[in-house]
């Protein structure tokens, strides 16, 4: 079954506009199929980012009728028969061209988080971890880095000025994931508050709603992280340790020289 649909697609970069197209749609198709048909039949240079077309790589994030979604997993049958479909790039990131954004902000934030830190006394093959203990972190490792949660979070969506101090839900759950890893020895609780901006999050849960992997970002990630941060503050041992300069239980600092990398090497 083939029908004609109206698509309104954002064209342009800094300056741009919605352009109307009439395009064929077949049974069973997803929005990305229709964008591909537009490229093949009407606008060969329409910029669209995608890769797997199977919901696995997180490349094809856009806003469809105002909702942040993966275009390869949004079926045309989810819209009303006459409903026009408006497709715009993610709003939180600068537009490169048409539907493609500059998402480098995210890679920048990823680099600031202290990496997995096993006990230096161990070596590959030493770990014994129960399934129940890895499952919590595994949930966060399902993340396909589509950045839809980053895009939707109001802390940075219309607040460019917050970007420097807020890593966004994706990277806060990365911190949670590492904190919950049974073999990790670093302590990122203080920096999650002071450097990654956990305090900006007021648990609106918008991020959880858009996550295509159905990760419970707030309930399983952000709230438990907030609790751990609170525990950290009131932990008398840690407090004493920091007073008398004990190494043990020390806070792990943000990875050095990773924020706003200057071209002139410091040192």
């Amino acid at each position: 079954m083939t029908t004609k649909r109206t698509f309104r697609v954002w064209r342009g970069s800094g300056e741009g506009e919605l352009v109307h197209y009439e395009v064929e749609v077949n049974e069973g198709e997803v929005v990305l199929d229709v964008l591909h048909r537009l490229q093949a039949t009407q606008v060969p240079d329409l910029a669209v980012r995608w890769n797997c077309k199977a919901g696995k790589c997180g490349s094809c994030s856009v806003e469809i009728n105002g909702r942040p979604r993966l275009s390869c997993m949004t079926r045309m049958s989810t819209f009303e028969p006459e409903e026009p479909i408006t497709i715009t790039p993610m709003r939180t990131f600068p537009v490169i061209r048409d539907l493609v954004c500059d998402v480098s902000f995210n890679y920048q934030k990823a680099r600031e988080i202290p990496s997995f830190t096993p006990d230096p006394g161990t070596e590959p093959g030493d770990f014994r971890m129960a399934q129940a203990d890895v499952e919590r972190s595994q949930e966060f490792r399902k993340c396909i880095e589509c950045f839809l949660c980053q895009n939707v979070c109001h802390v940075i969506r219309d607040h460019e000025e917050n970007k420097e101090h807020f890593s966004g839900p994706r990277y806060l759950i990365r911190v949670t994931e590492l904190e919950m890893h049974p073999e990790d020895t670093a302590d990122r609780r203080t920096i999650s508050q002071e450097e990654f901006g956990l305090g900006y999050c007021n648990i609106t849960k918008c991020c959880t709603e858009v996550c295509p992997e159905h990760i419970k970002i707030t309930d399983n990630g952000l709230i438990p992280l907030k609790e751990r941060v609170a525990d950290r503050k009131y932990d008398p041992l840690v407090w004493l340790g920091s007073k008398i300069g004990l190494r043990k239980g020390a806070d792990t600092p943000i990875a050095p020289n990773t924020r706003k990398p200057s071209s002139a090497p410091e040192q």
Binding site: E29, Q39, P44, N51, K142, P256, Q267
Partner: protein, 652 residues
């Protein structure tokens, strides 16, 4: 004309999938200044799609597993055409590579005693695939990505800048390798986001560009799979091995049309799923070939017993190697016993409780629910063969990954030899790690030997590379790249697909000839910034070159083996088993020669029963008098060159 940005590196890795990232990590760990280049964003390479797992004889689930058993399975799966040294290194080193990933933060599913759990897969004698649900590729790529970040953090601490020694150039496409005399000197390409051109000057280039699936209409592969690495290597003077072997995965989605080809992981069968035809028959029992007869169950009862008591039962025939299952499905459909949309039924709903299915196969559950309105816990899936993997690839030295061109290395799907005529599931992810690392080491050793004698890129070459890339944008008239791409896909799918016939392949070659002429005048509208039509126009010559290599090799090999089935030559030939078909360019055109395959070492030969060997080897090989003066020419023309034969001998 746009500016050309220049960068200078020790090692340039083209590809940010499992192989590329592992290679880059190793090169950096060896102290080399390394660039990683990828057509897609960092962390999104095609490896991310891998589902089932990574094969490694860790022996965590069944302690009888050893590298020798893994080696034997790999050779069996490849129908004895594998490069024996590669298969050996792979089986030996895969466990260390998996444990190393765990040490970098990967969280695999666990056994009861807290080790890495392993699952069954087609062709593997024991549960062998380390996995995370059905998203193992994501775990692999994310872990390697995070390891790259960790190394960058260390560099930031030491040198003040995270990208001082290891940098990722995302959404950057390499269009040409540049040489100084016979040696690699660099790589030229364009950056999607800015439309700028870029030159990487480097004495060592590692190709890790993956596969070729986008030359076929029905495929599980992503848009990146246009065979760039295969084509870049050919044009740089390297050789490709056995390009006729293309794996059609037996279970791709068949409906709705827009998702046709998307993979349904083999884990569905590994975890108990069965194949049925429209008559409800579990048909795979009828398709167990002689060479595998002794290892596979003959009744449903025996097959089902295997899932719980593998020692007392033989394996279910659903777990035969992929080529066998794909051909069986093809036959069922052709003989009229297919499902409504031209596949067969794959059912797990009557085999496992619903919650077990959603736990073990979450992405399959998700994929069918979202894309096909099918609830796999309640009803069967419809599946059929889809182009999945290319066994053929760049001819490399097993130990170092070095191609025939000095300074050029290759690892991962783009490299050939490892998987013979058919790859076992799970053997790719481990291949990426084992040979990715070896390439990194190989490149570092090459650099150390080179010392200060660095090759240089000639300016004229750079200008020519740039003009070629700009050409489609400057044509005022010309054909549309999208239409041409569809024609290539249709041609390969119809004429060089899962079942091949001589006259059809010849027809394909004729069509490809015409398509090549047309593609030479292709026109792209628009500018240089993120212009998909232009990008596709530049991919077309690569797809055409690789398609021609596949078709020519498929025509030449007059036997059926693994991922190459000739309807007109249905038998497997012991004479052909000893032959590698090598593709190279002669004056810009695809040419081929035959070259003997290295024999199995006696200690490895002993892993097989004589009876089994007799099904694959020539009498001469069996009696142990092989090689000396042996003819490797089964049908009497176009034997290998003396030179090639002795080169191969030196290597082994």
């Amino acid at each position: 004309m746009s500016e050309i940005t220049r960068h200078s590196y020790d090692v340039v890795v083209i590809g940010a999938g499992g192989a590329g990232l592992r290679a880059a990590i190793e090169a950096r760990q060896q102290g080399k200044k390394t660039a990683i280049i990828s057509k897609s964003l960092f962390g999104k390479a095609h490896t991310v799609m891998a589902e089932g797992g990574a094969a490694a004889a860790l022996g965590n689930v069944n302690s009888d597993d050893h590298w020798q058993v893994h080696f034997r399975d790999t050779i069996r799966g490849g129908k004895f055409l594998n490069d024996p040294r590669m298969a050996e290194l792979h089986a030996q080193e895969a466990p260390q590579r998996i444990l190393e990933l765990e040490y970098w933060g990967a969280l695999f599913d666990r056994t009861k005693d807290g080790r890495i759990s392993q699952r069954n897969f087609g062709g593997h004698e024991y549960p062998r695939l380390a996995h995370v649900g059905d998203r193992t590729g994501l775990e692999l790529i994310r872990t390697l990505q995070q390891r790259v970040v960790q190394l960058q953090q260390a560099d930031a601490a030491e040198f003040g800048h995270p990208e001082s020694m290891l940098k990722v150039y995302a959404e950057t496409t390499i269009t040409e390798l540049l040489k100084d005399g016979d040696r690699i000197a660099g790589a030229f390409g364009y950056i999607r986001e800015t439309g700028d051109f870029v030159l990487f000057e480097a004495p060592a280039v590692i190709l890790a560009t993956g596969g070729i699936g986008k030359s076929f209409k029905v495929t599980s592969n992503s848009w990146e799979y246009t065979g760039d690495g295969h084509a870049l290597a050919l044009r740089a003077g390297a050789t490709l091995l056995n390009m006729e072997f293309v794996q059609f995965h037996p279970t791709g989605m068949v409906w709705p049309p827009s998702v046709k080809g998307i993979l349904v992981t083999e884990s569905v069968r590994g975890d108990g799923g069965v194949l049925r035809n429209s008559e409800g028959e579990r048909f795979m029992f009828r398709y167990v070939p002689d060479v595998f007869r002794s290892q596979y169950a003959e009744t449903e009862e025996e097959a089902d017993g295997w899932y719980t008591a593998p020692a007392e039962h033989r394996r279910p025939p659903e777990l035969l190697p992929r080529d066998e299952v794909a051909r069986a499905i093809n036959t069922e459909v052709k003989e009229g016993r297919g499902s409504p949309h031209g596949g067969v039924f794959l059912d797990v709903s009557t085999r496992l409780p619903a919650e077990e299915i959603t736990r073990r196969l979450p992405s399959m559950y998700h994929q069918f629910r979202e894309l096909a309105d099918v609830d796999i816990t309640a009803e069967p899936m419809e599946v059929g063969p889809t182009c999945h993997y290319v066994m053929g690839g760049i001819e490399v030295d097993a130990d170092t990954g070095a191609a025939l061109v000095p300074g050029l290395f290759a690892a991962g799907e783009v490299a050939g030899g490892m998987h013979g005529s058919n790859r076992l599931g799970g053997n790719s992810l481990s291949d990426l790690l084992v040979f990715g690392r070896r390439c990194g080491l190989g490149a570092a050793a090459y650099l150390d030997e080179l010392g200060d004698a660095r090759p240089a890129v000639a300016e004229a070459e750079i200008r020519r590379a740039q003009e070629e890339v700009r050409a489609p944008l400057e044509r005022k008239t010309g054909e549309d790249p999208y239409a041409l791409h569809q024609e290539i896909q249709q041609t390969m799918n119809d004429l060089v697909g899962i079942i091949r016939r001589g006259p059809e392949i010849e027809q394909a070659l004729e069509s490809l000839d015409k398509l090549r002429e047309r593609a030479a005048g292709v026109r792209a509208e628009g500018g240089t910034i993120y212009n998909p039509g232009w990008h596709l126009a530049l991919d077309l010559p690569n797809m055409l070159l690789v398609s021609e290599a596949i078709a020519r090799a498929a025509l030449e090999r007059t036997e059926s083996r693994g991922g190459h089935t000739r309807d007109d030559y249905p038998a497997m030939s012991p004479e052909w088993r000893r032959i590698n078909l090598v593709t190279y360019l002669r004056e810009g055109r695809v040419d081929q020669r035959r070259q003997p395959l290295a024999p199995l070492r006696p200690d490895l030969m002993e892993l097989f029963e004589r009876e089994e060997l007799a099904k694959y080897l020539t009498d001469e090989e069996l009696s142990g008098t092989e090689r000396t003066g042996a003819s490797v020419d089964p049908d009497g023309h176009g034997g290998p060159t003396e030179e090639a034969a002795s080169a191969k001998e030196d290597e082994s």
